[in-house]
């Protein structure tokens, strides 16, 4: 690949990374359950787009598979599986339950973004041969932090699941810039893993709703240790 083409690819990847961050932030602050799901799909599409750019830049068929698998599992299969497993009435309801207010959440998210940038630095210095790592590694870490933060501040089961999936997308967003040759068996297994996990967690949410009358998993506190 020529230097000019690499520059263009980096610019496109940078733009996709910015969208990836924005969609991740959106999942933290959106109050609508369905909105959270749509943002997650957009987030997965951004991951798929970045993998496509990198597949082209590195001439890596493996990354092409990652792009395709991400699109088919996260953007298509997960929403369908969740609708079937959790039931439409669960994730179509308006979600207003959040531990922190939106401005406070955004402020913390900004801090997490900064921490991700700093935390990625030692690793970036150790892998100078990967031209996209400077974009993807800190962005992926940010998404992992955003996902973990979503799990912590959201009380709804579906929103927490979205947080987990965003973390997982973040891990892949970071790693596709340094690993362009994941074995086929690992790719296939990863493709199967995400829908299965979504199915099981979706079913768990439906059962929690059936037994407790709510999907506010953050409010479940029967098992706290007594003192």
């Amino acid at each position: 690949m020529t230097e000019h083409a690499l520059e263009i690819a980096r610019a496109v990847d940078g733009f996709v990374a910015a969208l990836f961050v924005v969609f991740g932030l959106g999942v933290i602050v959106t109050r609508q359950m369905l909105g959270t799901l749509y943002l997650f799909v957009l987030h997965a599409l951004a991951l798929s787009a970045s993998a496509s750019v990198l597949a082209f830049a590195y001439a890596s068929p493996h990354l092409g598979w990652v792009a395709l698998i991400t699109f088919s599992t996260k953007a298509v299969a997960v929403p369908l599986v969740l609708r079937w497993a959790a039931g439409s009435e669960i994730y179509q309801r308006r979600e207003v339950d959040q531990v922190l207010t939106i401005p406070v959440s955004l402020l913390i998210a900004a801090g997490l973004a900064l921490v991700a940038w700093v935390a990625a630095n030692p690793l970036l210095q150790a892998i100078p041969d990967r031209p996209f790592a400077g974009i993807n590694l800190p962005t992926g870490l940010m998404s992992m932090f955003f996902g973990a933060f979503t799990v912590v501040v959201r009380r709804e089961g579906v929103a927490q699941l979205m947080g987990l999936l965003i973390m997982e997308s973040g891990a892949f967003f970071a790693s596709i810039s340094i690993v362009s040759n994941l074995s086929v068996i690992a790719e296939v297994a990863a493709a199967v893993d995400v829908p299965i996990a979504s199915l099981v967690i979706g079913l768990l949410i439906r059962n929690i709703h059936r037994v407790t009358g709510t999907t506010r998993v953050g409010a479940l506190a029967v098992l706290r240790e007594r003192h």
Binding site: L123, A126, M144, G147, S175, I196
Partner: protein, 483 residues
């Protein structure tokens, strides 16, 4: 082919259990026995010095893998036998069949497949997937009772350990980059071969991500909070698997990366990470053991303590040998499964897990009462049981290596845990029952499982069959010790 069959047998049993719940217990028992038989023959070959491989290198087995494989297969058999009696005894308390009964055996078998896959698959990314799937397939086993409490426990279990798994995933992929760049396959031997040439930052970042990620699954403090909840709610047979071998799967990963850290000249004193994480876990668990109110939670906190001891042992053994680490890893599986089997039967006897509501277990149901107190003595690390030998070896190694402060702290925490466990177990087992004694019919299959689980716990305290001793030494040598 043998290695593949170990996975295929419970896989077929899962399909049979899906087809018919009547044959499910027997199919499960047959599959676990086949898996144990094959694991035993494979382990014997490994003990003789072979490194087994199958499926064009997709599956492989070395000494540490063989040891873990044996543990999973053995606890799998005892859990299958125990389930045959325990589930029916629990069902007798309800007016109708629990909604999850039909799902129990298919999930049990798939859960077993994922755990058996951990030591067998060669590619590290696939090992990660196997560990992640252990959580996914055991979630509804934890939620078996279908109560609000059981579902809450299952949710916490899935949420926290899945978060951990995703963090560990990034570590796996970073290692993937480093190992392939060094021109090695992404397997355990490939990692060790690549380790000296890896950038220290790459290896260290991957390890820290593993420590956090797999640490959550292993119940290391402060990521342990799911563990007592899940163990207090899951059926005792599932607790035996979760506690005896599933948490160990995550610890297996942390142990296996240690030789790679030690082989990298740019990483100063990697053992310190193990000592700090291990001692923090043992210390917190020892204090938590003092204030438990539920006897299944008592054993759960003891599991956290044991995970911490194994990690500390790895740090202490760095300078000399890792025999104590491997022996503790090995003995923990037998002791903890035995304890949960006894706890499950105590629940059948009293209908509660509240320590305050339970007295005179020995008077009420002597086999269960004796098993309970023997199990408590064993996990506390008293002689003549296998955990006494392993903990003694760990402390001997620690003092021998000149790690006086860390070993002294470990002695103090083990002592505290010893007092706490025996205090609670004594209250439960001795004395007179508060209610008028009512004859309780104990399930024969569960008592049989208790007896089977007791044999290695007792025998390995004073005698190790020579092939097993060789396997332990070979496994210890793989962790960087002299064996």
């Amino acid at each position: 082919m043998d290695l593949a069959l170990i996975l295929i047998a419970p896989g077929i049993a899962a399909l049979m259990a899906l087809a018919s719940s009547r044959i499910a217990p027997w199919a499960t028992l047959a599959a676990t026995l086949i898996a144990l038989g094959l694991a035993l023959t494979s382990a014997l070959r490994v003990a003789r010095g072979a490194v087994l491989s199958a499926a064009q290198g997709g599956l492989s087995l070395d000494a540490l893998g063989a040891l873990y494989l044996l543990l999973v297969a053995f606890v799998g058999v005892t859990a299958a036998v125990y389930s045959m009696g325990y589930l029916h005894a629990r069902m007798a308390e309800h007016t109708e069949v629990p909604p999850r009964y039909r799902q129990y055996y298919p999930l049990f078998n798939i859960f077993l497949v994922t755990m058996l896959a951990v030591p067998l698959v060669s590619n590290l990314a696939v090992v990660w997937i196997a560990i992640e799937l252990t959580t996914i397939f055991s979630a509804f086993l934890v939620a078996y009772e279908d109560s609000a409490e059981a579902l809450e426990a299952a949710w916490k279990y899935v949420a926290l350990t899945s978060m951990g798994a995703i963090i560990a995933l990034l570590g796996v992929l970073i290692l993937y980059y480093g190992v392939t760049r060094a021109g090695q396959p992404v397997t355990w031997p490939g990692l060790i071969a690549a380790a000296p040439a890896l950038e220290p930052a790459v290896l260290l970042v991957a390890f820290v991500l593993w420590l956090i990620g797999f640490g959550a699954k292993a119940g290391l403090v402060p990521l342990h909070t799911w563990l007592p909840d899940a163990h207090s709610q899951a059926p005792a047979s599932i607790c035996a698997l979760l506690s005896g071998v599933e948490t160990s799967a995550a610890l297996y990963m942390l142990l296996r990366i240690y030789p790679a850290l030690a082989a990298n000249p740019g990483i100063a004193r990697p053992a310190l990470w193990y000592l700090i994480a291990g001692l923090l876990t043992v210390g917190v668990a020892a204090f938590l053991l003092l204030q438990v109110h539920d006897f299944k939670r008592l054993f759960a906190y003891s599991t956290i303590e044991h995970m911490g001891i194994i990690l500390t042992a790895c740090g202490l053994g760095a300078a000399l040998h890792q025999l104590g680490t491997v022996y503790q890893f090995f003995a923990h599986a037998f002791a903890k499964s035995f304890c949960f089997y006894a706890a499950g039967l105590a629940t059948v006897v009293f209908g509660t897990q509240e320590i305050a509501a339970v007295r005179g277990l020995i008077s009420r149901a002597p086999p269960v009462g004796w098993a309970f107190i023997i199990g408590a003595i064993a996990i506390a690390g008293a002689p003549p049981f296998a955990l006494f030998i392993s903990e003694f070896e760990i402390l001997r190694t620690g003092f021998g290596a000149g790690e006086y402060f860390a070993t002294g702290l470990l002695v103090a925490f083990i002592g505290l845990a010893f007092v706490a466990i025996l205090y609670h177990a004594g209250r439960i087992t001795f004395g007179e029952p508060e209610e008028a004694s009512q004859k309780v019919r104990l399930p024969g299959a569960s008592l049989a499982a208790l007896a089977i689980a007791f044999a290695p716990l007792f025998v390995f305290g004073f005698y190790l069959p020579p092939p097993l001793a060789v396997l332990l030494h070979r496994a210890a040598a793989l962790l960087g010790g002299t064996g």
